[in-house]
Amino acid sequence: MKLYQQTVQKIGEMLARREVTAQEVLASIAERIGQVENKIQAFTTLTLKEAEGIAADLDSRGEVGDLTGIPCGIKDNMCTRGIRTTCASEMLENFVPPYDATVVNKLKSAGAVMVGKLNMDEFAMGSSTENSGFFPTHNPWDLTRVPGGSSGGAAAAVAAGEVFYALASDTGGSIRQPASFCGVVGMKPTYGMVSRFGLVAFASSLDQIGPVTRTVTDCALVMNAICGHDRQDSTSLQLEVPDFRSYLQTDIKGLKIGFPREYFQKGVDQEVKDTIKKVLLKYEELGAIVEETSLPHSEYALPAYYIIAPAEASSNLARFDGVRYGYRDTHAEDIIGMFSSTRARGFGPEVTRRIMLGTYALSSGYYDAYYLKALKVRRLIKEDFDQAFDKYDVLISPTATSVAFKIGEKSEDPLSMYMSDILTIPVNLAGIPSISIPGGFVDNLPVGLQLMGRPLSEGTLLKAAYAFEQATDYHLRTPVMEV
């Protein structure tokens, strides 16, 4: 087994025992990137040169830590000091932040070795990474298919062995859906668990950073490094972060699992439903109590989300105006013209569409009918979950309605693209934690299993995920790529 195929946990142990150096680990990753990146196209920016310096420095200092010396990738919407942060948009193609996102800072102090910034749908708006302003990323399981989105670069890079783990962001499923499509583990923590400082905002009340890894254990290790209160993010929670490794147990006897019937209805592919039904049987075998339940307002989640997220986005993205940084159209006649043409040329069609949607939803005369109503729906969805969690420890569903679809299959039809997030969106509206892990395969394409829990129940989710992972071998399968 090559080094790049190992897990974070395994490499960490090898580094700690001095069986391997950070530079050797990095060399393996660099070699792998050299082999497959031209097919996958997961990175917007590679920083192997900087990574070599960091790895050499770590080797010379001989420090040891869970993430020390382990190569990773960062979704390109998290600010990295001195390294361009593009959001996969022409608007920020040459933007180099003078500061690090809090999570990047945390990873740096944990001794992480960043090898590059990862491709995404522009400003995290999309479900296939086809909306990247630069190029689409390909799914390692089938290069003609999408890796999902918006964190397609992160999931594809982790699945293809180009990084051991990645940090991504999830606003309506952007970590979990690509994790599902690429057969990796992706966690969206409770809103406020991880600081958003330095994450280029899409929809502030929904955005949350989380890990993409190959195993549940690795997920726990990365969670340990990135969670915690940050004074620079007023919405980050003030609480003690547990050691998530302590939840990695296989005994889940008596765990109460609900499967909401609304998540198994039409719109979800039959093979996917069947795969997850088998998962439920597996959980019963493991001693969990599995029952059908209901989240009755689920069908309103998508429309509510497509009001709230674009509304916030229309305001968050207003700062990209060509005045202070980023792209500027210099041919405009006057200031209004400069604003308009900078934004018209700098943003791609999906970003433009959502800005217009959000602007409309907040306009006077429409605010009550759209935005305010969407907030009410959001509360109902939260209450649905609250009630379900009175009875159940964990809710289980498919992560996505299908396996990875073909590149180009949905890119001309925004609505069907939006529908592919229908199972992940309610979690963001409710602010609860959720994890997607490999739950099976259909035609050699991964199917994601989504676990959802009450606020701050990341530990329980990791435990339930770990128990399933240890009882199956889905996480051990890797995409076969011709090299």
Partner: protein, 480 residues
């Protein structure tokens, strides 16, 4: 007069910059006059991915102000985004408060000729300031604009009054009173010229006796108390004139043109911005617990109305004098310090409100920027009391102190201004004057009282103002 048949209805929106140490949502210093773009950071520059963190001192200052204005403090308030595009607004939205401001329903008192009037305060809310643009003329036609974002993110309070004022004078008095309260609280510099206190006026007129309000116009760009009063006055007359001609007032925003002394249309209601307010998702709502409010209430300093009552009760000053002395915290402090050292409050008050105010206005100075100290004024009053100088010379000495900053003793000594109380010396001058003005002396003896005054004047002139006036009177009378 036609104007008498109409009544003006005026409400004011005042923005004040708070002089907190740091900006509203980042750690940058708030300071006026620094090199452009030196007090900036990723947060107040609106860089990608940054987040606001609420400055508690801003909330504290807002609470102080709201309590001083007798407002009801909201137990729960939140911030909202006000969205509009302008190059001086880095995020292209302003963090403000929309439907749940920190305080509502307050009031302040103004002293009009007809007595005391209560002006309602609708609301007080917190927000952040924008930066500054420098360009030639209009932003749409200038070849380029320079952007200075030092001011961007400075904490502001917006204080909105009820439409309770009825004249330009009342509008001015309201802002003056508000300013003095803010100065007493020490929350703002309140300099209209520098923009740390800015004022917009909503003005409508209606036939006297009518309850329904007329259509209003909002007037902006009034940079001094004088321009506020003039702009309001102009706008009232403009509206009355339109109504008299059978026309209609258009709801619009107008700007005061200082050069032409007129208000001019900026944009109509139809062109008004849709700010698309919505709750600021990057800040959590603010719970203002009662103990916090009480702690701030107890920490409030003496306010203008309380100070005024103190001057009336303790020093037996008139209501009017006491009001004048309490328009500014610095003036009151100056007065209080003088009175601590000198036993005649009324005399001190007269000098402060008279000569001192006159010289300050003449030189366009604030009291704390002038060279006069309470010590100097008190020393001078003692010289006057002791008879070392007379009243007329005192004014000369005072002006000299004001310009040079030298002590009254030194001025009197250096310029030989000591009063002449030597009877024989004055007697000699009196004789000379009488001898040189036989015609006037004759007029006086024929009953022309005015002639006496002229002779006194001649004696004073000959003594360079230094002769003891009482002696001059007595000796001149004896001589005649």
């Amino acid at each position: 007069m036609t104007a008498d048949r109409y009544e003006a209805v005026i409400g004011l929106e005042v923005h004040v910059e708070l002089k907190t140490r740091t900006k509203a949502f980042c750690g940058c210093a708030t300071s006026f006059g620094a090199e452009p773009n030196t007090h900036v950071c990723p947060v107040c520059l609106g860089m990608p991915g940054v987040l606001p963190v609420l400055n508690q001192e801003m909330v504290e200052y807002a609470l102080k102000t709201a309590l001083a204005l007798n407002c009801q403090i909201a137990g729960y308030c939140k911030f909202d985004r006000k969205n509009y595009y302008y190059p001086d607004l880095p995020k292209n939205y302003q963090i403000s408060q929309y439907d749940l401001p920190i305080a509502e329903r307050g009031s302040l008192e103004i002293e009009t000729e007809k007595g005391s009037r209560t002006i309602g305060i609708t609301r007080v809310h917190m927000e952040e300031d924008a930066g500054k643009l420098v360009h030639q003329g209009n932003i749409m036609t200038t070849p380029y604009s320079l952007v200075d974002l030092n001011r961007a993110g400075t904490p502001l309070l917006e204080i909105v009054s009820e439409p309770d004022m009825r004249s330009p004078q009342e509008a001015r008095m309201y802002v003056e009173k508000l300013r003095s309260i803010l100065l007493f609280l020490g929350v703002s510099d309140c300099k209209m010229q520098e923009g740390s206190l800015r004022c917009d006026a909503n003005i409508s007129v209606r036939p006297r006796g009518q309850r329904a309000l007329g259509t209003k116009a909002e007037i902006k760009n009034m940079n001094s108390f004088r321009s506020l009063e003039r702009a309001v006055d102009y706008e009232i007359k403009r509206q009355i004139e339109i109504l008299e001609k059978g026309g209609h007032i258009i709801q619009e925003t107008r700007t005061w043109d200082e050069d032409q002394q007129v208000t001019m249309s900026m944009r109509s209601k139809e062109e008004a911005h849709d700010y698309r307010y919505f709750p600021e998702p990057d800040l959590t709502p603010l719970n203002i617990e009662q103990p916090w409010v009480e702690r701030v209430r107890r920490s409030l300093p003496e306010l203008p109305d309380q100070a005024r009552e103190r001057l009336v009760n303790e020093y037996h000053l008139s209501h009017y004098d006491a009001s004048l002395l309490t328009t500014s915290k610095d003036v009151l402090d100056f007065f209080d310090e003088c009175v601590n050292q000198y036993h005649e409050p009324k005399v001190v008050a007269n000098w402060v409100m008279g000569e001192l105010t006159r010289l300050l206005n003449q030189n366009n100075l604030e009291i704390k920027d002038s060279k006069i100290t309470p010590r100097f004024l008190v020393d001078m009053l003692r010289l006057l009391e002791q008879g070392t100088i007379n009243g007329k010379i005192a004014k000369v000495v005072f002006e000299e102190m004001f310009t040079t900053g030298e002590s009254p003793d030194k001025i009197v000594k250096d310029r030989g201004l000591i009063q002449i109380s030597d009877e024989s010396a004055i007697q000699a001058i009196v004789r000379d004057v009488v001898a040189l003005n036989p015609k006037v002396v004759e007029d006086y003896r024929n009953g022309k009282d005015k002639a006496f005054g002229f002779l006194v004047g001649q004696v004073m002139k000959a003594s360079k103002g230094k002769a003891n006036p009482e002696m001059v009177n007595r000796l001149l009378q004896e001589e005649l």
